[in-house]
Amino acid sequence: MCQSKPFIRTLRLAALLSISLLLCLPPHDAVAELSSEDKKLLEMNPEDILNSELTPPSVSKYWEEQGTTSVNKKGDDPFNTPAAVYIISSEDIRRSGVTSVMEALRMAPGVQVARIDSNKWAISIRGFNQQYSDKLNILVDGQSIVHPEISGAFWDEPIVPLEDIDRIEVIRGPGGVTWGNNATNGVINIITKHSKDTQGSAVSVLYGNEERGSVYARNSGKFSDNTFYRSFIHHKSINSSKHPQTRQVLETDWATSQAGFRIDGATGRNDDFLVTGNIYSGDVNGYLNNLPIPPVYVFQPEDKRTIGANLNGKISRTAEDLESSLQSYLRFNNFTAENFTYKSLTYDIDFQQIFSQSTRNEVTWGLGYRLYYDEINQSFYYELDPSSQVDNLFSAFLQDKYALIEDKLFLTVGSKFEYYDKVGFEPQPSIRLSYNPTENQTLWAATSRVARFPTRGERTGGTQIISLSPLNPNGYAMFAPNDVNSNIKPDVSIAYEVGYRIKPRNDLSFDLTAFYNDYSDIISYAQTVQGNNLVFTFLGENQGKAESRGLEFSANWQKTNDLRLEANYSFIETKVTIPPTDITLDNDIDNPSHQFSIRSQYNISSNVFWDNSLYYVSELENVSIPDYLRFDSRIAWRPIHGLELSIAGQNLLDDYHQEFTAGYLALPSTIGRSVYVKAAWEF
């Protein structure tokens, strides 16, 4: 059991009390209360309304103009959502000057983003950050792109071009009910633009010192009045990073090419369909550690070539009080390195239905199936037994959102049920409560149980025997496969969250969340000395436990129509307990305790824009990564309609700094100052 400390006790108590109190509240008058501003407007005649001056647009246009789909798969108003939601809009992406989805995620509070080298990132939400973070679900248009073999994303694979992204919804905390396993600590849902919204053509070219170059071209049109398409090609190339001490240029340069399409259409009065497809390839340079004996690692250059393709189709039908959708997804992925070849095939099919039994009751249910096939060549360095395998994952979920007091108090109860043929059955229930005392405030609390199924490596790993004999000074490694570990279980988290949002004025909003997570069955690995051999058993055991707690805060101020400011802060503390002779990937040493950022978007004139971002990340004390400040700035000019010329600088305060250490997975590396120029033309 985790130790109960005052903070945790208080948080638990607050979550439970909030839920109890809110449930006990007396019935409330359903008539909405009008503010004095609303009343004043109502008393005006139509002509006076049209003559009135307007205040600046709302602080977070996404609070009002967009629905989030990531929390409950339905487009609800994110301001009222009983979860920690943050939305990175397409404008945020464009104006921040970031050049990848990974870098864009720095904008969200509570997300740990650390660039390891040119082509590797460690990204997590609410802790446990590592190169292949395994407690996060990453989706594109609602479809998970997580690789089951690592329970994470290969960030060096192209996702979608930034130009085609409508928004990125970041949900901190469990998303188990709707998105299933792997969403232990959060969900990142990348929503691409409807092809109707990108009609015409676009070209952009980028050139810089770290970003060696990027070319993007898009063409959109329509097949009929109801059917629109978009096609694109994208190529980008990134320079190598350098070693922090020797300043030697490391072979970590990276180039990817991608082509894809999206078709949106309506076939009937209430039927919509969506088809997307992508093919990509990448050359990713890096190093392979061929002698992982801490703390001395022996790395040798290892170039990886990755190719892949995916096809996603979705049909939706909207009838009175009933929405249904069927989504199907096929992905092929292959990567080849000198000592390693991995192929995988994923097929997903999901059905979902939302219906309203009354104006106060909304039920969502769904069924899903995933087939996953992988094949690995047996090599000296890595071996899985069996070398190829088919996994089957069946899922069902049911959720009911009930208005205890109409427009005021909502209770959402549900559970996802998953059956993984290699591990077993896991229920993942959740209860969420939200209360809107006024239209500009939301108070919410939630308790969830989420599970992460063990990866193939954790289930079918092996034993590495490293000779410590003086007769073998190089410490040669031998690798022997183990039997499948049938006893391994998912790691499980019970999460408690409370949150409060307020818009004290139309131009200002605050969002505060506190959480406590209690993890059990954390997977760890045994290491023992047997005679002259150091033996690592790469076969996970559920021997660990952990806890994490933290606060996340976001403030958003649309000062005028021409100036928007945003500040974010997050605090996290994690503690992992495993047997003293074991090692674990779920460590507590790679998470910065404090992160702070402030961003500004300033329209100097109607066609000149100046945007700045300042990020502070506290030190990773146990792995000797100092704290750092990062400052990004971008100036853009639109000389004519459709054409934007910009210059952007990133990491402007330092020549370079180190953000992360990936231990035995990658050589230590630094992130240098980056400057680029970009021209983007839409016509």
């Binding site: 309304i49 049209l50 307007l54 205040t55 009175e320 131009d507 100036l563 400011l565 506290s618």
Partner: protein, 174 residues
């Protein structure tokens, strides 16, 4: 270790000072949010158009801040309006007023075609709405909501506007 504390502290002080300098100006903002002005104007259409039924059926298609505000206004005790929220195409014929938000623009041609089968006043903030067959549209000009109308379409539908609303349309078209 000391610089680990001083650097973020300095940055914090700079940022806080910047915010503090900006804050007093921000507090003096006046006027109304655009979406509330839009929603209240639509609400007033119930008094400025001749309807044969009461309460007036106000439909919304799609979702935005104005639809949310309209829902709130529809709960006023004056009972002037019955709101049908986020309707389907097959429900269009039940409406007196139909507000189409930008998020509902995908099926705009179908909605317009459907609305022309009945006597329905269509209004939206979608660009070029009045050109593609809609009746009234909003746009923002010099920080004010401006109304555009296709008077021919309104007349063809047999919708009778109040003299004051006609005057507004006349002035706004210049």
């Amino acid at each position: 270790m000391r610089h680990y504390l001083t650097r973020p502290l300095k940055a914090g002080v700079c940022v806080s000072s910047g915010l503090a300098l900006l804050l007093p100006h921000g507090l003096s903002s006046e006027g109304f949010p655009e979406y509330k002005a839009r929603a209240t104007f639509i609400y007033h259409l119930t008094d400025n158009v001749e309807w044969s039924n009461s309460p007036v059926k106000l439909c919304t298609y799609g979702y935005d801040a104005a639809t949310q505000h309209l829902e709130k206004l529809s709960q006023l005790p004056d009972n002037k309006v019955k709101i049908l929220r986020n309707i389907g195409l097959e429900e269009v014929s039940q409406c007196n007023i139909l507000y189409i938000s930008k998020s509902g623009s995908r099926l705009l041609p179908e909605i317009i075609t459907e609305s022309k089968k009945s006597q329905i006043l269509t209004i939206s903030d979608i660009e070029n709405f009045t050109i593609v067959g809609g009746m009234m549209s909003f746009e923002i000009v010099r920080n004010r909501v401006k109304l555009k109308a296709n008077k021919r379409t309104i007349k063809d539908a047999g919708i009778r506007l109040s003299p004051s609303l006609l005057n507004i349309l006349e002035r706004e078209s210049h």
